[in-house]
């Protein structure tokens, strides 16, 4: 109690013409935590970040960073925050080092302090060898790292990362994750947007699932998974014709709201997926119930619910399904594998 939240948003609204990018968004992010904003493209994640980072003026509601209003005290907020957007915001023609020193000088550091900090960050992000090369010669992963370094140069206490790994290959992604974990260990508050469920699961202490410009679920990754039934029982029936009887027999075990096509799947009518709340001896009880109903089972498996399941259950569509851009969707799927 008593500590000012790092980020607070109450009923944020932002229109673009007739589209409501934000439709009453509420958020509270505690100090020194990693908070994940999870949602498909167009859910309002980037708009939320742009409002919190003082780039956009909300049409309604209010937001504070470290207790400072993002509209009335924008100047104060800018001293506290760092922002890394979806595209590397760098000068292509300057060297990596010059870019960092420039941003440092504009973040109110002296030339000496900016240079020292730039060298320290280049070293830490594995860019020391490329420091004197123009940014246009950098690979995508190097740009993202330099961009992240640029947002850190002024020692922000609250950092916004807008889809920091979109479009990166798996190894560059893993490197970004390591850097993010280091930052957290350093005591930085982090607001991370992502459309990758595994990324939010891996990095975030708490997650808000956003769809249509508002938060539709909030909690720790574990809580969110538990809310749709902590576990899934996967059954392969011996006879395809038994599916209807099996579903009836399994109903007492099914937890939470069931999305018919998603959670009780009918692949060849022999595979069934049932969301359940984990209890001791669950698998045995399921088998007994099916046996009593005269249903033969050729395979049974129990797995933990993934954030994919959460997403599907909450929004009725898969995380990447809302992608308008096919390329992005493909990249997203590749990287999520």
């Amino acid at each position: 109690m008593g500590e000012t939240p790092a980020i607070e948003a109450e009923g944020l609204v932002k229109h673009y013409g007739k589209t409501k990018a934000l439709d009453g968004l509420d958020l509270t992010v505690g100090q020194r935590t990693v908070y994940g904003l999870l949602g498909p493209n167009g859910a309002g994640k980037t708009t939320a970040v742009r409002v919190l980072a003082t780039l956009l003026r909300p049409d309604g509601g209010r937001a504070r960073v470290d207790g400072h209003d993002v509209v009335a005290e924008a100047v104060v907020v800018r001293r506290i925050i760092g922002l890394t957007g979806q595209y590397a915001a760098l000068d292509e023609y300057l060297t990596g080092r010059s870019n960092l020193v420039m941003v440092g000088r504009l973040s109110r550091l002296t030339t000496r302090a900016a240079t020292r900090r730039a060298d320290e960050l280049l070293e830490r992000f594995g860019l020391a060898d490329a420091a004197t090369r123009a940014v246009k010669t950098y690979s995508g992963g190097m740009r993202r790292r330099l961009d992240l370094a640029a947002s850190l140069i002024g020692h922000p206490s609250v950092l916004f990362l807008d889809e920091p790994t979109t479009g990166l290959d798996p190894s560059a992604r893993a490197l970004m994750w390591d850097i993010v974990r280091e930052l957290v260990a350093d005591g930085t508050t982090l607001l991370l947007t992502t459309q990758y469920l595994d990324e939010a699961d891996q990095l975030a202490d708490r997650i808000a699932v956003i769809d249509g410009g508002k938060v539709i679920a909030e909690g720790t990754p574990t809580e969110l998974k538990a809310s749709v039934g902590g576990q899934r029982v996967l059954l392969t029936l011996a006879e395809a014709g038994d599916a209807a009887v099996a579903v009836k027999a399994l109903r007492p075990f099914a937890a939470g709201s069931i999305v018919p096509n998603g959670s009780v799947s009918d692949h060849g009518a022999r595979l069934l997926e049932v969301p359940v709340i984990a209890t001791d001896g669950l698998a045995t009880e399921v088998l007994r119930a099916l046996d009593a109903a005269g249903v033969g089972v050729s395979d049974i498996a129990v797995r933990s619910a993934s954030l994919d399941d959460v997403f599907l259950t909450l929004t009725g569509h898969a995380a990447e399904a809302a992608d308008e851009d096919d390329d992005t969707a493909e990249l997203a799927e590749e990287a999520a594998v």
Binding site: R50, A53, T54, L55, L56, R57, V75, R78, R79, I81, G82, L83, G85, Q86, Y87, A88, A89, L90, D91, E92, Y93, L94, S98, M102, V103, R105, L106, S107, R108, L109, T110, R112, A113, R116, R117, E120, R124, A134, A150, S151, G154, H155, E182, L183, A185, D186
Partner: protein, 280 residues
């Protein structure tokens, strides 16, 4: 992680807002100059292009152009070339602004605790330096083809000062153009469409006396004509516009100042407004 922490001595937050503004303008102007050093070809529009135009007009068209009141075409040409070489850097300004907007660099600047006015001011100052190079190139190539000054150093300084004031006003128009367009290609194209007729429907290369009657007033009131006439007068070069009895040809220097201040009064606040509100 072994991050060094900041001490008060590492920060410039104690400075006043004017000092901060000047610091930010300096940092960003250095950025633009560093780019020119790395990619000198970006200067071609104020180096190679004016040389080409001077040589083409002097040796290809020059012989066919009669100057009312007499005089050498090579001497006539340079006053007009100065205006052209300065005003045509405006599309380049627009391209640079569009690029910064589209790469997200402007968003980064907006999220920093820096002076907001500094971004555009630095852009225009860097372009003013580019224009000064352009003016020197035009003068140099002019001297090589036989252009001479027949007045004192005070007049020459005044002519170049007027030309740079004029060029600076055009730069702000370029910034506005860059703010409203979406791609560098569009900025390049639109700039071309606006600035080419502006340069050619003027007395920059040919006297207005040879134009059709309906076109003459447009050319005479064109700010490009006023600058050309003012420079010709101040250099002591042939100035046939003096024979035309309309206000801007009779008061060329005052006309240049009015046009420049007028453009600054419109485009500078508009550019700042667009910078503040675009995307918000």
């Amino acid at each position: 992680m072994t991050a060094t922490t900041l001490s008060a001595a590492d920060l410039t937050t104690g400075r006043g807002s004017l000092a901060q503004f000047l610091n930010d303008v300096w940092v960003l102007t250095k950025r633009s100059i560093a780019r020119i050093r790395r990619e000198p070809e970006t200067l071609s529009e104020v180096t190679i292009q004016p040389v080409m135009f001077v040589l083409m007009f002097a040796y290809v068209f020059g012989g066919a152009i009669a100057i009312p009141g007499g005089g050498n075409y090579h001497e006539y040409l340079i006053g007009g070339m100065l205006g052209m070489s300065l005003a045509q850097t405006a599309p380049g300004t627009a391209v640079a602004v569009v690029s910064d907007m589209s790469t997200g660099l402007i968003d980064r600047f907006r999220s920093l605790p820096m002076s907001r006015a500094a971004v555009l001011t630095a852009r225009t100052i860097a372009d003013l330096l580019t224009q000064a190079i352009g003016a020197a190139v035009v003068a140099g190539v002019g001297l090589a083809i036989g252009w001479r000054v027949h007045t004192g150093p005070g007049d020459v300084i005044e002519a170049f000062a007027l030309a740079l004031l004029f060029g600076y006003a055009f730069t702000w128009a370029g910034v506005c153009l860059g703010m409203v367009l979406r791609s560098p290609e569009a900025a390049q194209q639109t700039g071309f469409i606006i600035f080419l007729p502006l340069t050619f429907i003027s007395s920059a290369f040919v006297p207005t006396q040879g134009m059709p009657g309906w076109l003459q007033p447009i050319a005479e009131w064109n700010p490009m004509s006023s600058l050309a006439a003012a420079c010709r007068q101040l250099f002591g070069n042939p100035n046939p516009a003096a024979l035309v009895d309309v206000w801007p040809t009779q008061h060329a220097e005052l006309a240049v100042i009015c046009w420049s201040l007028g453009m600054l009064a419109v485009f500078a606040p508009l550019a700042v407004h667009l910078y503040r509100t675009k995307g918000r």
